[in-house]
Amino acid sequence: MIDSLSPTKPTPKQPQAEEKLTAKVTSFELKKNDKYYAWLFLGPSILLLTVFVFFPMIRTFYLSLFLTDTFGNPTVFVGLKNYTTLLKSASYMASLKATGTYVIGVSVFTIVFGLLLAAMANQKLRGIGFFRTVFTATMGVSVSVSAVFWLFMFNPSIGILNQVIKSFGAKPIMWLTTPSWAMVAVIATTVWMHLGFTFLLFFGALQSVPKSLYDAADVAGASPRYQFWHITLPMISPTMFFVAVITLISGFKSFGLIDLMTAGGPTNATNLLVYRVYKDAFMNGNYAQASTEAIILAIIIAIITFIQFKLLAKRVNY
């Protein structure tokens, strides 16, 4: 390059510079010794991931192409027949629908209530610090404890919910034994459990909106409602996106709560996809079908997350 720029002046330093350059390049290449170190450091995580993630994943996909015996060993290769059977099955479609209802219900109500609580706690009121603590409290409650706790509340005869309903003279509700109410009950419990963390995220987001933005809007003549829609929401939209993603994914993965509260019942009304995988594999002993369901679930989550990022990333403001 330099030669072509000044052809009349051959520079004696040129070869030296080139030598230096090649020397630099080789120094970036790994020496034989370095390769050992690389594998040494990567080793543990590769080992763990292989045993607990890669192998089960591949094994699951492998099993989904076979029929299996009661011990989960593959017997007859059937190709994609497991998939076609499953997608034609009415009960699987029902599960899919139930999961959709559950996941959307949980996400929407978690966001709405989380934001509502955060907006309330963000007001400067006397004793608001107490409520800020209380609102985050569900973070400290485990799934099993909250499930049992809500089981008591949903209890048709001694549960507090029915006591209240009865005191108004209305007919008590069979919460967990009526299909549609059972779905309401599990959604309510899940939302309640998510609320603490969601509240905390939204509260943090609200607190980080600069006060001067609202002052400026006050002077400019924007009503509080206008300010909420045109300042608060856009400012916290990144948090909202994050909350939407995590509640949606955790909704798809919800297992413990279903197991403890309804065990997929009544009449499979709350038999969500994850719970179905568990039931088919470990209770019905149909490992091939369970594997197929697991793969489909993974694909669904992957697609939805992808769409979410594509769609919402455009509308998240900065």
Binding site: S212, L213, D215, A216, V219, A220, G221, H230
Partner: protein
């Protein structure tokens, strides 16, 4: 008409002393009124009370003759520029300027026209589609100005609008804001902690300190007749020299003595006693002397090219600052004789101004007449 402040007081807690006490002022239509003071003096609080962002604890605020206490900010018909600019990061420049207009549900055609005009006025037309984060500090500042212009209100409040800019840009924006204010005929209330901004921009200056108004006057009025110690020290760089002095002789006298060489002659006699005499650094003179003569020792010399600032320690352990125009060669530790040229202020025991000795504006008048 303009804006009238009567006994404005702000108290956050009943049991604590007010953060702002008994502020009285009249701000004329179309003037640039600067509120200046050190941080924590309550100047931003005062501005926010005028804007209506925080309530007034006591006193009356009138805008164009109407009492504005308790009127919501949007009905006060004013605009405000914030120190942080308060731009909406998710809106582009044009939408930021249009924000208030849209909130007030103005006709879209009118909004477009106002936004275009305002952006043209601050030379940001080609940046209209940028987001605030893609702008420099100065450009963000202009967006905030454009927003105030677009609101078309005749009163504009600015809260330290230049303090986030670098020194050069600050000087430029200073004159731009002043020009804009004149062109639009704005009544501009401008809060700053920078005495240079107050001196260079204002029609009138209010000096706030210790929760109280210290003085309200034109910039030169304040420089030439500072009401007390604080005001005298706050305006002028380098700082004014405040020296303890006693009257000459036994009874009332027309001469104040700081030390053997440093005397101030007064027009009228003062009662016997000790006073504080204020002399601006450029009204001090110095003569180098041999060996151990004189009344002071040079401890620091700052040569700025067009002027030289000399700090010296008087023999009674008081530091004085002397400014000489041009370049003066003085050595450190050099013995000098410091004297006063003439103009000086005399402050009483309560730090208030009690006498002036040939104020500086008198000199100017003498020349121009």
């Amino acid at each position: 008409m303009g804006i009238e402040l009567k006994g404005i007081t702000k108290t956050y807690d009943q049991h604590e002393k007010p953060v702002l006490s008994e502020v009285n002022a009249e701000i004329q239509d179309g003037e640039l009124f600067v509120i200046v003071g050190p941080s924590g003096c309550g100047k931003s609080t005062l501005l926010r009370m005028i804007a209506g962002i925080i309530p007034i604890s006591d006193g009356v605020l009138k805008i164009n003759g109407q009492v504005m206490n308790g009127v919501s900010p949007k009905d006060r018909n004013l605009s405000m520029v914030f120190q942080s600019y308060a731009l909406y990061p998710f809106l582009n420049v044009a939408d930021n300027v249009a924000f208030g207009l849209k909130a007030r549900k103005m006709a879209p055609a009118e909004i477009t026209k106002r936004v275009d005009d305002a952006l043209a006025m601050v030379n940001l037309t080609e940046y209209r589609d940028r987001k605030p984060r893609e702008l420099s500090g100065g450009q963000r500042q202009r967006v905030a100005l454009a927003r105030a212009i677009a609101s078309d209100s005749k009163i504009c409040l600015m809260d330290e609008p230049l303090s986030n800019l670098d020194a050069q840009l600050r000087v430029r924006m200073r004159s731009e804001i002043r020009e804009l204010q004149r062109k639009l005929g704005l009544t501009l209330i401008y809060v700053t902690h920078d005495q240079t901004e107050a001196m260079t921009m204002a029609d009138h200056v209010m000096v706030l300190h210790d929760q109280h108004v210290q003085q309200i006057d034109s910039p030169l009025g304040i420089y030439n007749h500072p009401a007390n110690h604080f005001v005298a020290q706050f305006f002028g760089t380098p700082q004014i020299n405040l020296l303890s002095a006693r009257t000459a002789g036994q009874g009332a006298a027309d001469e104040l003595i700081v030390d053997a060489a440093l005397h101030v002659h007064l027009d009228e006699a003062l009662n016997a006693g000790t006073y504080t005499v204020g002399i601006r650094p450029n009204q001090m003179d110095l003569v180098p002397v041999m060996d151990n003569g004189g009344n002071a020792t040079v401890i620091n010399v700052e040569a700025l090219g067009d002027q030289t600032i000399i700090e010296a320690m008087l023999d009674n352990d008081v530091e004085v600052r002397i400014v000489k125009t041009g370049q003066v060669s003085v050595d450190l530790q050099q013995r000098i004789e410091v004297s006063a040229l003439g103009p000086a202020f005399v402050f009483g025991a309560d730090e208030a101004l009690i006498a002036e000795q040939r104020g500086m504006q008198d000199d100017r008048l003498a020349v121009t007449n």
